[in-house]
Symmetry: C2
Amino acid sequence: MSFFLRHWIAAAAMAVLLLFSVAISGGQESVVGIPGFSPAHAQAERQLEETFRAIPDAARAESNLRHLTSEPHRAGTDASHRVAEWLRDQYRSFGFDTEMVTYKVWLPEPREIKLELTAPVTKSLASPEQPFAGDNQTYDSRVAPAFNAYSPSGDIRGPVVYVNYGMPDDYRDLSSLGVSVEGKIVLARYGRGYRGIKVKLAEEHKAVGVILYSDPEDDGYAAGDPYPGGPWRPASGVQRGSVMYTQIYPGDPLTPGGGATPTVKRITPADAANLPRIPTIPISAQDASVILSNLSGAHVPHGWQGGLAFTYHVGPGDSQVHMKVAIDYAERPIYDVIAKLHGTNDDEWVMLGNHHDAWVFGAADPGSGTSAMLETARALGELVKSGWKPRRTIVICQWDAEEPGLIGSTEWVEEHRAELQAKALVYINTDVGATGPNFAASATPSLKDLVRDATRDVKDPDTLGAVYDAWSEQAARAKREEAGTTRQAPPADPPGKPPLTPLGAGSDFSPFVDFAGVASIDMGFGGDYGVYHSVFDDFYWMKHFGDPHFEYQVALARVLGTVALRLDQADLLPFDYSAYGAEMEQEARNLATAAARQPEETASVKIVTDAAARFAASASRESQALAGISSFPQDPKVTETINRNLAEVERDFLAPEGLAGRPWFKHTLFAPGSYTGYSAEVMPGVTEALTRHDLPVLRREANAVAAALERAARRLDDIAHLARQTNASPVEGR
Amino acid sequence: MSFFLRHWIAAAAMAVLLLFSVAISGGQESVVGIPGFSPAHAQAERQLEETFRAIPDAARAESNLRHLTSEPHRAGTDASHRVAEWLRDQYRSFGFDTEMVTYKVWLPEPREIKLELTAPVTKSLASPEQPFAGDNQTYDSRVAPAFNAYSPSGDIRGPVVYVNYGMPDDYRDLSSLGVSVEGKIVLARYGRGYRGIKVKLAEEHKAVGVILYSDPEDDGYAAGDPYPGGPWRPASGVQRGSVMYTQIYPGDPLTPGGGATPTVKRITPADAANLPRIPTIPISAQDASVILSNLSGAHVPHGWQGGLAFTYHVGPGDSQVHMKVAIDYAERPIYDVIAKLHGTNDDEWVMLGNHHDAWVFGAADPGSGTSAMLETARALGELVKSGWKPRRTIVICQWDAEEPGLIGSTEWVEEHRAELQAKALVYINTDVGATGPNFAASATPSLKDLVRDATRDVKDPDTLGAVYDAWSEQAARAKREEAGTTRQAPPADPPGKPPLTPLGAGSDFSPFVDFAGVASIDMGFGGDYGVYHSVFDDFYWMKHFGDPHFEYQVALARVLGTVALRLDQADLLPFDYSAYGAEMEQEARNLATAAARQPEETASVKIVTDAAARFAASASRESQALAGISSFPQDPKVTETINRNLAEVERDFLAPEGLAGRPWFKHTLFAPGSYTGYSAEVMPGVTEALTRHDLPVLRREANAVAAALERAARRLDDIAHLARQTNASPVEGR
């Protein structure tokens, strides 16, 4: 058989296969091939991946985590610098080209955090967490008092009002009870939304201070056995955390939109729109119960009672608290590690990342993600040592100062925006990498099937089947348990596939997606995890509850590497725009339903629905044209052009002027909600203008979304055109 | 204007009005007229009702309740006899013809109720309720230890398994955890179903004993402020209650189906199918927490965690309990009071009733219903004293021994079945009459609009609008709060009308509906009420929380009397069979959905759907024919025949052989569910056979339902025929 004949048979088979899978799923889906790979190349890729997946090792993941959690290493401390140096050395030892990047950013250092009930009785609160004799780390004297990063300093006294989760609905309930928080200190339980939203809402409602606490119903004894008997938060456990208004902009408060380099222009803290103006303290359930049980006033509305053993009241009443917050803010250094495994093409980057700073020891958050990512990196290094060379450059980033406000990643993305937009294909994030057996991921719609496909080829440590199957089963179970409740599955999930949520807030993918328009993925294995941001998120916890055999950290290393290798090695990059198109059409339909009653709103939304339809149609044609490409690489220049364009579609969704009221957020299709918590808002400008019935903004945002979809559709048309050309030539040439 | 002409104009107007209201609502609905009344008579009726409604008085309701709650008066005690005698004297003083009816029935008297944890530590449980200094009655030495009526005596030891609510779903959850209760003592929380079902299920799963407790999540501090600070159950509060298997048959266990007269044949307790075989003890949350917190084993499934301040485990574990129940069973006398206000027609009875026995003081249950009913009776007596005479006889019943198992009512209905079936038009029950401002009712479908209409003419004490409007608003609010939860509104409610649930179990309407086929109503005003069946359900509780001004007891007296007067005075009895038909068609459709996948099941259900359609069609024709009657009383004999037949339609639904497995239950369309709690099962034989996939029983039950609907349809055809005849004559004679 001649080369051409063999080649042609294989190519025809692949074309049929891809067309078939397009026909049944509306997207690219592998049965035996791998989307983006020619059949011959797919076989080689499978071989490579299998070699790769054999390398990550549980004992090494464990020793990684032991090192990473050996001391508290909050951003801005020397310990954080030590962790960064160790990470740099690790990546260097794996054969990566490493760089330590430093920025000076506005960071807190707590001096005094004091809370006491002063009436009807006096009681000191804001107590330290209760150490446990079986776990020495809980006695570590280097553990700082629990505080909320970016709370201003303050010394205030006043009555308290309980505001449930402190989210918009809760203030509506309060107002129908005739209770105002003006001049009061609000007590809000953690959950249902980002703490920075709770503080912003309290500020908007004229409260003078905020106390945040962890209710046992949400992550304590009512959820399951508390530490040290189980993985849930003990009564003394405190959730630290940032209250920076990252929903306005993340990163260094003093350098919005620009990297915090020595020369960049800095604003004053008074001008920083992402800094709260009222003091906030985080406390334990145990301390909160002292305040809550002393509130009088109305019995709480339906859904406000938590798990403490008394009847909750809204307050205020005779009880008074005294709150003193003294936090020293200054420009302090942070340390990002950027590690590169250079590929043949050094201008195309497959990026991975996690932060390395932690609130305390950070075993789950972020250690378990980093212990996995280190094994991914080591295995890729091993491949290189045995003679393999990446096709594209693999970049692994370890960010500092994620906990105070995604600072290390944001500053770096802001500084390197132009280079990133030219070179970055995809950013793959992990953070809390393994707290149990349940795989979960969020992704840009074009990458969802890439994640799903990779999980088909990684073994689940518990079931010994594919991670994909365990994930699907768990998702179905969760759906059954939620049946009939108000919580809903992500609307755009195709039936029968495990769900990936849209990328919201809460980790370092945010600047990549929201500011630079780099398609991204966030993933990890979840489970019962109640010790978030407390001293108890330590090595002991991981060894006893989260991932005792470190096998889910290994599984994560394998999924991360499989996804990365597919992106690195693909002939055609596996971006699935037909899935993206279907998702946008669905979201536009949802908007249309929301706007159905107002003619002006309907008109604006129609602009979006029309554009989504146009985008979806182009995407569908583009997918078919790519599926019809019958050989690789026909003309490497053409495929490179196609690939570059495939990655750049995501940039088309950016609007230079950003979203209404928060110009840092450039992506017109996804953003963290301004008031809806960690989760993403889809078409955020339009959605939020609709909620507020703000017609001029709605029109502006609808036009921005439509223009973005239009730009992307035109680019997809170009890709389809190129694909049809490259396809036509070999058939004619044969 | 001649008499005939005036008469004709009025009659034509009414016919148009009724036809119009039929057209818009599918049932009879009053706009200015009253369904069942000629226009002239409606005016007189309104006058009469207004006079009636002016009489009930809050001060008298209060003094009634003070008398009724003056001592603990459990059935079988002398105190219960004293209450019956006082009631008889009251009704006699109002001008009623009274009778004291006594039966000797199998009743419990607790001797020793003991529960202790014996391992890992020893602790005595089953503690008495904690008295409160502000409420002397809580110190009353006559209060018996809390117990469960019809628990057998026993002395057992064993490990404990927590079974959540102890309902069928809970045992499915347990079995998927691999936990068996065989040989164990089960600990079940109250709620979600009748306690006799919990004990029966425990027995079926081979448990050796049952401990029932009140979880603070359900009616304690997590629901709202506990007594004495609020209306909810304090930590020491115990819910007493019967565990008789009333779902098999209620009433004296030794005389199923017959009145417990001296001469009736009695079975032995060993042969009584409604008696539990394993001992049961009710305890407080406080005592339950000692057992629950000592259980080990698996963490509880989703939805099992209650309001106690620790993580719930299923058990068993090392903890052991010792349970001793000594109850003396004997034939003891009970005392029903039957009071009649004779009407012109002494062969048509409008009946009302409530029980008088109480678990302890019984302020809400049943005192608040009785204090209202006494005011209804006094007001009716006043009307008679001022010269009015009932058209039909009004019979008010005060039952004894409802609490142990609907005994007083069941024995009387069983003894008087033939007379009842000949004379009783409707039975109107109230029990817990007023615990707050929320009107609620259950009724036979033909009577729902009668109840709704009556509430339009009674003022709500809080809103000062109609009870109907407050009820509608409250129902809409509840619906909004339930939106998105699994709990569903009654399926057959017409949109825009406040809902009435079907009659289930739990009060004295059961023998009337289920055994004698008398159309019934149950009603009362509800609110926050956590002290059910505890010592705290006393006068203090009512005065401070339930109905402090006794105005809802007065409102209830007015609704009861308005409904009774409309039935007493109607020209045509206001049974709405078109509503009944629509409801049965809807229920048959629901069955068809449930059976959709099994051809044999579908065939059986089709028998029911066809019959329901036939019944609904006849009902619709009957409604139209009645609406077309243009004058009353054209021929009193004919109207009397129509009225007798209207009441007897309900008897057509009885099957002499009863339901599969529980022949005492004769009604084919409604029964308390065998395993679904207090609530009614509609077409119970068919529904339960479908759940079990028992094809032979399904066929039998479907045929029984169809035959019943067929009998009723034929009778409705006869009524329609008579109505068209009586209508034709005056038009021809004019």
